[in-house]
C-alpha cells in the first residue's frame, strides 16, 4: 500500500536524511521525500499498521530535525 503525506522540512539535505530515516523505520517498504513539492510518499509492508508506522516515522524524523513535520 502507498500513501502520500504533506510534510514540512526546511532544507534539501534534511529532506534526504528524512527519506533515509523513513526507509529505516519498521513497516516501511520504501519511501520518497520530495523537497520541491513538500510531499512524502510511503510504501508500507504488507500487514503494517499505517498509523503506528507513521507515528514512528514522525518520531524518527524529528530526532534528526526538530522542525520537521508530517501532516497525518
Amino acid at each position: 500500500m502507498k500513501k502520500t503525506y504533506k510534510i514540512e522540512v526546511d532544507c534539501a539535505n534534511c529532506a534526504n536524511k528524512m527519506e533515509e530515516a523513513t526507509k529505516k523505520t519498521e513497516g516501511v517498504k520504501d519511501a520518497v521525500v520530495n523537497y520541491m513539492t513538500l510531499k512524502m510518499k510511503v510504501e508500507f509492508e504488507d500487514g503494517a499498521d499505517v498509523d503506528t508506522v507513521m507515528n514512528n516515522v514522525r518520531n524518527n524524523c524529528k530526532k534528526i530535525e526538530d522542525d520537521f513535520e508530517i501532516y497525518l
Binding site: C11, A12, N13, N34, T37, D66
Partner: protein, 662 residues
Amino acid sequence: MNKKQKTNRLRIIITAVLLIGLYIVFKSGLILPEDFLNPWLERAVFIVPYIIIAYDILIKSVKGILKGQLLDENFLMGVASIGAFVLGECVEGVAVVLFYQIGELFESYAVGKSRKNITELMDITEDVCFVVEGDDVVKTDSDEVEIGTIIEVKPGDKIPLDGVVVEGGSVIDTSALTGESKPRDITTGDEVLSGSINVTSVIRIKTTAEFEESTASKILDMVSSAGMRKSRSENFISKFAHYYTPIVCGLAVVIAIVVPLVSGLLLGHDYNFAVWVYRALTFLVISCPCALVISVPLSFFAGIGSASAKGVLIKGSNYIEMLSKVDAVYFDKTGTLTKGEFKVTNVYSVTEDINVDLTLDNSDSAQYGSAVRELYKYAASAEYYTNHPIGISMINSYINMENANAKSDELTDAKKDEYLIKPSHVDQIGGKGIIAKVADKEVAVGNDLLMEELINGDFKKATEVGTVVYVSIDNTFAGYIVVNDQIKEGSFEAISELYKVGIKDVGMFTGDEEPIARDIAAKLGLNKIKAKLLPIDKVKALEDEINAGHKVSFIGDGINDAPVIMRSDVGIAMGALGSDAAIEASDIVIMDDDPRKVSLTVRIAKKCMRIVYENIYFSIGIKVLVLLLSLFGLASMWMAIFADVGVMILAVLNAIRCLRIK
C-alpha cells in the same frame, strides 16, 4: 516571505550592521587603535552579534548532540564559529554564521518562490462548484459532488469537473491543459474537461467524474508526483551528500590534531595548533553539501514545471535525464505527423484525359472540366452511405470543390442531398470497394482488385502517391481519385528542429504502404522509415534500434501504440487530453497534438540537464578547490564562506533558469 523568514531577515540585518559597526570602531584602526581591546574583551564585544545570529543554530546543535546527530550542519557551523572565537578570529566567527544564515534565507525564499510559481502554473483544479438544485444554484465543494450532478459554470470560471453539456452553448479555452489557447465551441451534448475555462456564456454540465477522478486532478497529481521518480543525478547527489560531510569532517579532525602532532613529534617543528585548527575549521565551513542538494532537484522541478505550463507533462525527472541522452526519435504516422484526415489530392478522368491536382488551393470549380466534376460526383455519390474515412473525405472534398463556403461545416444528410445523387442500391464488396446504382448507372468505386474483377484490368494505373480509388461507370473505366492523409502543421518544423538539437535519426514507423511513407518522409525530411508494420512489428523495429545501441524515443497517439511507447526508452504520447490509456502507457504526455511540442520537450530536457551538470561540476569543483587551498593555508575562512554560501546562491539562480526555457 513568511514569518520565520522575516524574523531571520531582521536578525541578519541587525547582525550585519552591528558587525560592520564594531569592526569599524575596534578593528579597522580608523577610530580606535587596533589593539584597543585585549583579546578577551574583543571576544566579549563580538559575542553580542554572534548570539543574535547564532542562537538557534547553537540550540539546534545541542539538541542534535543529545539525539546523537553529530554531523548535522548546525553542529558543524557551531563548531566552526566557536572555534574561530577561541582562536581569536571573532569577526570571521560571526561572519561564518551570518553568511550561513543569509544562504539559508535565500534558499528558503528562492525555493518557496519557485515552488509557488510552479504550483500556480499547475493550479488547474477548481475547489468550488455550483450545483443546480431546482431553481437554485448552491455553492458546493467540488470534491463532494457525485457523478451525474448538474452543475452550472459561469463565463470566466474554470470548469471544476469533467462532464457533458446539458444546457447552453459557449466557447471554452483549454490552454491550461494543452498550453495552446485555441478556443473551442461547445454545445449541448459535447464533452468538457475540468481545467478548461468557460469563456462566453453560462453552461450547465452533467458531471461524469468525481473530483479526484477528473482530468484536472489527475494531471495535477501526475505532475506533482513527478519528483518522486528520481533521476540518476539526484540519486548521485544524495549519495554524495551522504559521504561528503563525514569525509570532510574526518579530514578536519585529522588536520587539526594529527598533522601538527606528526609534524611536531617526527619533524621537530613547533606544535602550531592554531594554524592547523584554523584550516580544519575552514574545512567544516565547506563541509555542507547544500548547494548541490538543493540545486539539482530544483533544476528538474523547474524543468518539469516549465514543460507543464506548455502542455507537456513529464512523469519524472529520470525521463528528463533519459530524453537528454536520446539520439533517435521515431514517430508514428497517422495522428502524429499527419492529421488522420484524408483529403482528395488528385482526380483523373479518362474522357477529358486531364489530371487535376487539388493540393493546389484552387477551390473555384469552374476551372475543372465538366467530365472531372461528373466523375467526381458519381464517385462521391456512390459513397453516400459510407462510414469509411476515405469515403467521407471524398464526399467532403467534392462538396468543398463545388462550394468553397461549405468548408467548415459538418457533413449532414441535408448537405449530402443537396450535392449528391442518392444511390438506389449499394453493394459492399469486402476488401475491394462499393458498387452502387447512381441515377441508373452502375458506379463502381474501389481498389485495383475491384477493377481487375469488373473490367479485366483494362484501366490506367495511378502514378500519384496516396490511396487510389478507381472508378468505373457501367463497367467502363472512368478515372481515379487519389486520397491522401494531410501532414500536420508543424511536423516539418518539429523534425528539422530535432536534427538541430542533435538527434541523429528522426524516423517514422507506420502501418501504411511504402510509397506513402516515402512520400511523407521526403516532405518532412525523415531519414529512417519503416513501412507496412503491424503493431507487433513496430515493437520489433524499435527493439532493433535499441539493440543497435541507440537511445530511442517513440512518439505515438498512445492508444494503438501503447506497446511501442512502453518499450521505448522514453515513450511520448501525443494528443492525450482525455485519454487515460495514453497517459498510463507513456513517460511523457503531450496534451494536444502539436508535433512541435516534441522538439520543445527535447530542448527542455537538454537545457535542464546542462544546468544540472553545470551545477554539479561547479559546486563540487569550487569546494574541492577551496579544500585544497585551505589545506595549504592559502584559503581564509572568507573563501570558505564563499565556497559554501556563494556557490549555493549561484547554483540556485542557475537552476531557476530551467523555468525560462522558450
